[in-house]
Amino acid sequence: MRNPTLYDLQHPGAAGSQPADDAAAHHHPFLQHHFEDLGQQHEASTLGMWFFVAQEILFFGGIFCAYTIYRVMYPAAWSAGAHHQNWKIGLFNTIVLIGSSLTMALAVWGAQAAKRKFTTLMLVLTLLLGSAFVGVKGYEYREHIHEGLFPGSNFTYVHHEDPSLTHGIELFMVFYFTMTGLHALHMIIGAGLLIWFIKRAWRGDFGEEYYSPVEIMGLYWHFVDIVWIFLFPLLYLIH
């Protein structure tokens, strides 16, 4: 039928390399009707997630571009704004998030190896670490709002050493809240997907032939982590 793909080479027997009249290969419960075989389905969903990540890069790329321009326009104020952040909390959250990437990667491995309990456990750990990240972020937000750093009419913060920087710091905080807010929104969507996948993993949906949902979930999760890897130095460390 179609040309062999990387998936077929790794999974001899799972894909259309079998004779077309072998009904078993065509009636996997999760094979959707419009695909020839699981290999094609796997390749399609993985490629789809890669394209989705490509558009996400452009989405965050736009705001990174605007961030860079204002950083160049207001260097002193943005340095003061970054200085004001608590880098220790940021570092803690970075470690939490990298940890969640590890458990996510292990979950993908577990799903491929058909280890039902292990996969479920790793997905639960990923969810817990991700939730911890969002919780800590919420704590940081509360502190910022408490200090009058939320931009707009509630912005009451005054920079004591050089009050002329206050306006630039407000602009910094606009970008801080927008960038971390969009990132947190991606985390929350990811957490919602994880809850669904934990249920599916516990039910035993995934195995050697069918694990692509966990794999593309992993792609998404690692992408969201990488965004944070850029946000952390840009918003906390560069002075």
Partner: protein, 553 residues
């Protein structure tokens, strides 16, 4: 019992004797609203984009009525501002961008590839719902009192000063953007992973190449608009100075970010038009498209170069003269791949036995009007002339030649060309030719005078103008009336043809392509058996040979 064949019977109740197809496979409202069949989703899109097209058209017509007289006597200037804004927003975000990809692409692309459906049928349905949610915001804004920023939402007017419904309409545009992103993503994966056996990249119909290029642009440009609109909404809600110079922001940055999407969006609108034109030219000249690979790669070249020209909208916004010179040069370069397409289509027609059915009439209209629109685009890419005609009716005429003369002509060509495949019925040829004529005459009468009146200095976006411009404006309004008749006519006869049109066979045009090998309308899974492609695109002898072998087998 008599043995009448289907062709002999004038009209047969579909449920009783007609073969199962995607239309009579299931019945009921829910079978449409929850369908995952790409063909049914295309039908949902036909209805939605048609409604928005006529809404946007009504705004245009009201503007043309106001411009009959030099005095601003029919609408106040505020109302007029809302009219041109809503016309632009509805036509661009809710009609032109989804029209050809979401309607014709959705219906035809998987069949052209020999696939049973798009790669992600649920996401395909989701993208229609997202489109409708975005559209609901648009309709809400129209009912609630409109918006007056122009479709470009330039800051700081949109964020600090306009007291119309800017937030709701930008949210609507933001949401609708995700509908196009998901459609583009779906197309890309389908083209990569779902091609029938034997259908190599260089056997693909040129429609697929062009839709591929469109999808790349949709996927890489639209998210930038999304983030720009997020920043705009943040600025409007919090009253902070991201783009407002009074609060320390940079309004030119907004224009850069907006046009980084919105110039490629022009190619999102025209590339699918070119996709349709290539198919129709091949079908009605009965020839292989001249220089297939050049036409295929010119689509990718347009998609790539389209990302490098956005700042030509900012020549008078205070960007540096050196960057303006580079963007001017790059904008002229885009003309090369566009011209390659035009020359290759005309070269295909040379010494061919062209048949003049309605789609081919629209194709001829497209080629002429797109060329005029493209050449005047070169005028505007030249720095000196752009300063002279910036924000004048010359610009309005230029982009309407591309979007209306190009995209809508191509959309109508495609709707007529694939109508027998979509519905199983032929449209009435005489009426369709009449409407093609009306559209062509009406279009030119509407927009050609705008080149003249713009060149001598009439600015766009005003409801009153100097009395010496009246003659050309009256001509333009008269043309708009003819154009409107040309657009309403297909609505009537296409509906009529659903019941009374002559039944179409599988291949009424005798054209080459997988979509013409399956019955009209196609069965639910498009093909009874997965097809195997043994012919190059538009290779008539090889295609006929393959068809004969299938029938004998």
């Amino acid at each position: 019992m008599t043995t009448t064949t289907i062709d002999d019977a004038p009209f047969i109740e579909p449920s009783a004797t007609a073969p199962r197809n995607y239309l009579n496979d299931e019945y009921g409202v829910m079978s449409w609203l929850l369908t995952r069949d790409h063909k049914r989703i295309a039908i949902l899109y036909i209805f939605s984009v048609t409604i928005f097209f006529f809404v946007g058209g009504i705004f245009a017509f009201l503007m043309r009525l106001e411009l009959l007289t030099p005095e601003g006597d029919l609408f106040t200037s505020d109302t007029y501002n809302k009219l041109f804004t809503l016309h632009g927003i509805v036509m661009i975000f809710f009609f032109l961008i989804p029209a050809i990809p979401a309607v014709l692409g959705n219906f035809i692309l998987p069949i052209m590839l020999g696939a049973k459906d798009l790669a992600f049928p649920k996401i395909n349905l989701l993208s229609w719902y997202i489109y409708m949610i975005g559209g609901t915001f648009g309709v809400y804004v129209i009912i609630a009192g409109g918006v007056d920023t122009g479709w470009t939402f330039y800051t700081p007017f949109s964020t600090q000063y306009s007291n119309t419904h800017v937030f709701a309409v930008t949210l609507g545009a933001f949401i609708t953007g995700f509908s196009s992103i998901l459609t583009g993503l779906n197309f890309l994966v389908t083209i990569h992973r779902m091609r029938a056996p034997g259908l190599t990249w260089f056997r693909l119909p040129l429609f697929v190449w062009s839709i591929y290029a469109t999808s790349v642009v949709i996927m890489l440009a639209t998210p930038v608009l999304a983030i720009t609109l997020v920043l705009l909404m943040v600025e409007r809600v919090l009253h902070v100075g991201i783009f407002d110079p009074a609060l320390g922001g940079d309004p030119v940055l907004y224009q850069h970010m907006f046009w980084f999407y919105s110039h490629p969006a022009v190619y999102i609108m025209i590339l699918p038009g070119m996709a349709v034109i290539s198919e129709c030219v091949a079908a009605f000249t009965r020839k292989k498209i001249f220089g297939y690979k050049f036409v295929a790669f010119s689509s990718l070249a347009i998609a790539f170069l389209g990302f490098l020209v956005w700042a030509h909208h900012l020549f008078v916004a205070g960007i540096s003269i050196y960057s303006a010179m580079i963007f001017s040069f790059l904008s002229m370069i885009v003309a090369v791949p566009s011209a390659i397409k035009v020359f290759n289509w005309t070269a295909t027609m040379y010494r061919a036995s062209v048949s003049w059915q309605t789609p081919m009439l629209y194709v001829l209209g497209f080629i002429g009007l797109f060329t005029i629109g493209g050449v005047t685009g070169l005028f505007l890419a030249a720095l000196g002339i752009d300063v002279h005609v910036h924000d004048s009716y010359f610009v309005v005429a230029h982009f309407h030649y591309i979007m209306v003369g190009g995209t809508i002509m191509a959309y109508l060509a495609g709707i007529h060309y694939w109508w027998p495949k979509i519905t199983g019925r032929m449209y009435p040829e005489w009426w369709a030719r009449l409407s093609a004529l009306l559209v062509f005459v009406g279009f030119n009468l509407t927009f050609f005078p705008q080149f003249l009146v713009g060149y001598v200095g009439m600015p766009r976006r005003y409801h009153a103008y100097a009395p010496e411009f009246q003659v050309l404006n009256v001509l333009s309004t008269a043309g708009a009336t003819i154009l409107a008749a040309g657009y309403v006519l297909p609505m009537i006869y296409l509906f009529w043809s659903l019941k009374f049109g002559r039944k179409a066979g599988a291949n009424p045009w005798g054209a080459v392509g997988l979509e013409w090998t399956t019955p009209s309308p196609p069965p639910k899974e498009n093909f009874h058996e997965t097809p195997v492609v043994t012919w190059d695109a538009y290779d008539y002898p090889a295609f006929l040979k393959a068809m004969r072998e299938t029938q004998n087998a």
